[in-house]
């Protein structure tokens, strides 16, 4: 009898506690904010301009004085596999380490859960050749001349500058760009980035709630990719063939660390 009542208690307990939480419902016709954080790091350190000293794969010590890059053409893959492409008028961003307000561009995307994010590191050829008057703000070559080569070479879409005793001049600068050229075919260093978000937390976007995809961009990996880049060997890389090697190291710099839901 006692045993019987004990068992009844357990069963009751089980059912009381098992009342399911209401699952979240998404309305795909409503948009919510989704920020993408570009958190620049150097190995296991947060990147600090000027003051931070880092060591590359070649054992060269350096500091960073400038880190700026363009990211654009964002699209997101929903958990059901369908793709949402962010409209052209709101998908170009210039990340500048020295300006904190640029670190987390915010996209507005339909409510839902997303399993992957795609974007371009660089500015696409269409926007590299568009009439200058149609390229306002961060894409204006005149107001952002440190991020622009010229008509055929286009934007400097990745700009890293710093100081190092390993360089004969004491400084180094990597100005990476090239979209393929408009009048003559030239190098194209634009990189398509596709990041799987399922391993480190998927963004769950809902109106009235903030969601942030936290990416980490490791400057040390610019030196340590398929091609080794050294400050002593390459203190300056501009619009030249060597930039292809350096640019090929760019995608591996970017990692999805986590998502804040």
């Amino acid at each position: 009898m006692k045993i019987f009542s004990v068992i009844i208690c357990f069963i009751a307990l089980f059912f009381i506690s098992c009342s399911k939480d209401n699952p979240v419902s998404y309305n795909p016709s409503v948009s919510g904010p989704l920020s993408v954080e570009f958190d620049n790091i150097a190995g296991s350190d947060d990147l600090q301009l000027i003051s931070g000293m880092y060591t590359d794969v070649n054992g060269e010590h350096f500091s960073v004085s400038k880190l700026k890059y363009y990211v654009s053409n964002f699209s997101l893959v929903r958990s059901d596999g369908t793709v949402y492409t962010v409209p052209q008028d709101s998908c170009y961003f210039l990340i500048d380490e020295s300006d904190e307000s640029t670190h987390e561009p915010t996209l507005h995307v339909p409510e839902g859960e997303y399993r992957a994010i795609n974007f371009i590191l660089g500015v696409d050829s269409l926007h590299s050749t568009l009439d200058k008057n149609l390229r306002p703000g961060i894409l204006n070559p005149d107001t952002h001349d440190d991020m622009y080569f010229g008509v055929d070479s286009g934007y400097v879409f990745f700009n890293l500058e710093g100081n190092s005793n390993s360089s004969p001049t004491g400084t180094f600068e990597y100005h990476l760009g090239g979209y393929g050229g408009s009048t003559v075919p030239v190098i194209n260093n634009i990189k398509k980035i596709s990041l799987d978000l399922t391993q480190r937390g998927m963004p769950q976007v809902k109106r009235g709630k903030e969601t942030n995809i936290h990416l980490m961009i490791d400057v040390l990996k610019l030196f340590d990719g398929d091609m080794l880049i050294s400050i002593s060997g390459d203190p300056e890389i501009g619009f030249e063939q060597r930039s292809v090697d350096a640019s090929n190291n760019l995608p591996a710099m970017i990692d999805h660390d986590h998502t804040e839901n």
């Binding site: 006692k2 045993i3 004990v6 939480d21 937390g201 986590h258």
Partner: protein
Amino acid sequence: MKKINKLKWLLGACILVMQSSLACDICGCGVGNSYVGILPDFNREIIGIRYRFNCLLSHLGRDGMHTYLTTEESYQTLELWGGWNIGRNFRVMASLPYSLDKQTNQGAAKSKNGIGDISVSGYYQLLNSRSAAGDHHLLVQSLWLGGSVKLPTGQYNPKDKSLIDENANLFQLGTGSVDFSINGMYDVRIQDLGLNVTANYKINTTNAYNYRYGNKFSSSGQFYYKFRTKKSLIIAPNAGILFESGQRDTDHGFTVDISGGSLTMATLGVELAYQRISLGGNWQTPVSQRLAEGVIRANNRFMLHLAIAI
């Protein structure tokens, strides 16, 4: 003769694993919470203190890499607990924990301390048998089933959910919710060599901040051997394995991807019993784990306890 019998009953007759689904769901990586220790059986009442130390690494990067967000966390709990036997087959246990939580990131530490979640458990003994095993050995078996309720007496601070750098929601003194668990314990012993098996399922509810820790399952198996010395001191070394697994948490109904997981630990310990006093400790080390998608890595844990049968 009578005195010796009583002594046997208190200490020697059965050393029973008492699994307390008490406190510290949180510090057990959000997965386990079960402390496993071997207690002497007791006649009417028992009171004890228990100290537990857990540590882990949180916010690991991909493939376990350390990033600047990677944080060392330690969770220390001092628990006052008591047990009462009611009749021959019912037992009630209660625990009051006090916790000290500490996080260290990039050389900067933050800590908090306070009362944790009080829990009350009830157990019913379904089986208690003694029979002969062969000509010279005694076979002793017991089976207990129980349930626990954990009350939200420990402070749950929604700010420590850490929105800025989302982390597993571990840095809390309590879950903030009323939680239930179902516990089972089986002990079988041939003379002085015994095996303890425990299982525990914990059902969590949603707290006032709409956070719900995932349900957790834990199970353990431990072998022990009781060495009896002439001066009525019993020394019982034990060794075994502990498995814990947790479902994912939910936050306002959204699944928290970086939570849950499973952990297997090897355990090694020793229990001493002398008259009405028992003293013991154990050490647990992870043998395999996949916690919060690899964002959390559990390290060694240890526990010390002292109990007095009244």
